[in-house]
């Protein structure tokens, strides 16, 4: 795979020479994303306002406040750039640029529609893991660079949380990789005759939770806990630099929802409909073979799924309280990682145990059953340990069964 002949798969704009085409592709995708971020701001404010019995932006640009984000951008652009005293200039200036870059280049392997993808790497998901792990560095840069206690604390929290949630994130990603036997996003989408959400719901759940943590949204928004460490690592940033952090956060959330819909909902594909059709003996619709129409339909399907997941993000963000830092880490290391390890083990063994030639639905059913079993066992164990903790907190002793037997047995000897 060569990153510098990039987007060569795109059927759109075939005539233009490759390098031009690549540049155009990059420009188009990035611009599209940067613009959509503005929509996201408006969307978030509106939705959260609705959920909190408010109206939300309703002045600028009609009664829906459609131009509110534009106004925000204006404000941010015109603000003064302040550089704190004693700041490490290198790190301080580098951080916002790097974070935006990192949050943009992950989209390179995201299949928007059949044929509409930056580059279909055979190690696409691995690329995503790598780049998202690189983006952790930027928090450190920001935290250290802007010579400020709170910023450093925020950076530490952020890095601890992100690095530790990398683990279940990647482990949960491994399950679809196992099922599809490929790391390429496109072939994972095409492999989903049944959406993986209904095949390995546990993996989807773990992935969703750790995606929340990765993007640092509620209930895992410790890295910018306003009430504790006033906005964390980007406290010292103002104006456009601050806006870049914000932008990166929105894009990250959107990317996570897009990735979720790719891995577990079939991306631009329409597996459920195809399933129903094939159940009635019809010919399943192959969007990839429909040319430009398929591309358009696929794009809409993809965006619909993505925004559905993004809505769930907002929902959680609007409704859930924040958890403590020790709770976050113990949730990760004591719950998510063991469960996902067991899950991978079970999925792998089951994948080998199922004889050849069993139909897709039967396979899916078996995997689903195993998942449900794991979920129940895990819940049972967690319930027991929670009860033990409560008893310890309440200071109760475990029942010490008696010295009586001992004397008895001693008499017997």
């Amino acid at each position: 795979m060569n990153l510098y002949n990039y987007a060569s798969q795109t059927p759109v704009l075939p005539a233009i020479p490759p390098l031009m085409r690549d540049i155009i592709g990059v420009v188009v995708i990035s611009t599209f994303l940067l613009l959509i971020a503005i929509v996201l701001i408006w969307l978030m404010r509106k939705v959260i306002a609705r959920m909190q019995k408010r109206i939300g932006p309703n002045r600028v640009g009609g009664r829906y406040g459609l131009l509110q984000p534009v106004a925000d951008v204006m404000k941010l652009l015109t603000k003064e750039q302040i550089t704190p005293a004693g700041a490490d200039r290198w790190a301080y200036e580098l951080a916002p640029i790097l974070i935006v870059v990192a949050s943009l280049i992950v989209w390179a392997v995201m299949p928007f529609a059949p044929g509409l993808i930056g580059v279909d790497l055979n190690i696409g998901l691995f690329y995503i893991m790598a780049v998202s792990s690189v983006s952790v560095v930027t928090f450190l840069l920001a935290g250290w660079g802007s010579n400020n206690k709170y910023a450093l604390l925020g950076a530490f929290r952020a890095v601890a949380q992100l690095v530790s949630y990398e683990v279940p994130f990647i482990l949960a990603m491994l399950v679809p990789i196992l099922l599809a036997r490929s790391m390429s996003t496109v072939s994972i989408i095409e492999d989903q005759t049944v959406p993986y959400l209904f095949v390995v719901p546990l993996a989807a759940l773990i992935f969703f939770i750790s995606a929340l943590a990765e993007t640092g949204t509620t209930p895992f928004d410790l890295l910018e806990a306003e009430s504790e460490i006033i906005a964390g690592f980007h406290i010292e940033y103002s104006g456009m630099k601050f806006a870049m952090f914000f932008l990166a956060e929105f894009l990250g959330a959107l990317f996570m929802s897009a990735l979720f819909s790719t891995l577990f909902l079939g991306g631009w594909n329409i597996p459920i409909i195809n399933l129903i059709i094939s159940l009635f003996g019809g010919q399943p619709i192959d969007l990839a073979a429909m040319g430009i129409a398929g591309t358009i339909i696929g794009l809409f399907v993809f965006l619909a799924k993505t925004f559905l997941i993004y809505f769930v993000f907002l929902w959680i963000r609007a409704t859930w309280p924040r958890v403590r830092v020790d709770q976050i880490l113990s949730l990760n290391w004591k719950v998510l990682v063991p469960i996902s390890l067991v899950l991978i083990l079970v999925v792998a063994i089951l994948d080998k145990m199922i004889p050849e030639g069993t139909t897709e639905l039967v396979r899916a059913g078996l995997f689903l059953a195993s998942n449900v079993l794991i979920i129940f066992v895990a819940l049972e164990i967690m319930r027991r340990s929670a009860r033990r903790q409560r008893m310890e907190v309440a200071g109760m002793e475990t029942v010490d069964s008696g010295t009586h037997e001992i004397t008895e047995a001693a008499a017997a000897d």
Binding site: D88, W90, A91, V159
Partner: protein, 181 residues
């Protein structure tokens, strides 16, 4: 031609930032330069069609090791505030040693594979293989890790090593608890 320019750029980035790493006074900047150097090496891998390794390089070196190093720097940073001599007493001798090592290595390499690019010499350019082989390399790698005829034993040993390193690091870095009794 493009490849050569690209290679030279990557090499300059890598070596320059590497020099920065070993010479800079401010350790934090040194760590940043280290990351840049790692990224340059990842680029070198990509020019060698080893994209998987490049990603692994990013994931492990930049995503994990550099973060660790920066954490260590921050935890021991009280020392770094005081501007101090970054080099010890044997720096000139060390420099000499490094240079002479490089000279010897260069001589040996030059003996076997001529430096100057010319079409006729042995391995003057990246040999062309059909894209199937290249795209299948990751799969081959994965198979060879679980193949008893290949690397399954080293693979398992490596996993055990990682576990041992994990436990050992925790144990070593654990703060000493002075017992109350």
């Amino acid at each position: 031609m493009v490849e050569q320019i690209l290679f030279v750029l990557l090499a300059i980035i890598t070596l320059g930032s590497a020099l920065f790493v070993v010479t800079d006074r401010n350790l934090f900047h040194a760590a940043l330069a280290l990351m840049v150097s790692f990224a340059g090496v990842a680029g070198i891998y990509i020019t060698l069609d080893a994209g998987f390794l490049a990603m692994a390089q990013l994931l492990v070196y930049i995503g994990a090791i550099s973060i660790l190093i920066i954490f260590a720097i921050m935890m021991t940073r009280r020392l770094m505030q005081a501007v101090e001599m970054p080099f010890n007493s044997q720096r000139w001798l060390g420099l000499f040693g490094a240079v002479i090592t490089f000279v010897v290595l260069a001589v040996v390499i030059g003996r076997y594979w001529p430096i100057a690019p010319s079409a006729d010499t042995f391995l003057a350019s990246i040999p062309a293989v059909d894209p199937e082989v290249m795209s299948g390399s990751v799969a081959r790698l994965g198979v060879s890790f679980v193949n008893p005829d290949a690397y399954v034993i080293p693979f398992e040993v490596a996993s055990v090593l990682l576990l041992a390193a994990l436990v050992g690091a925790i144990v070593v870095a654990w703060p000493k608890v002075e017992d109350k009794s």
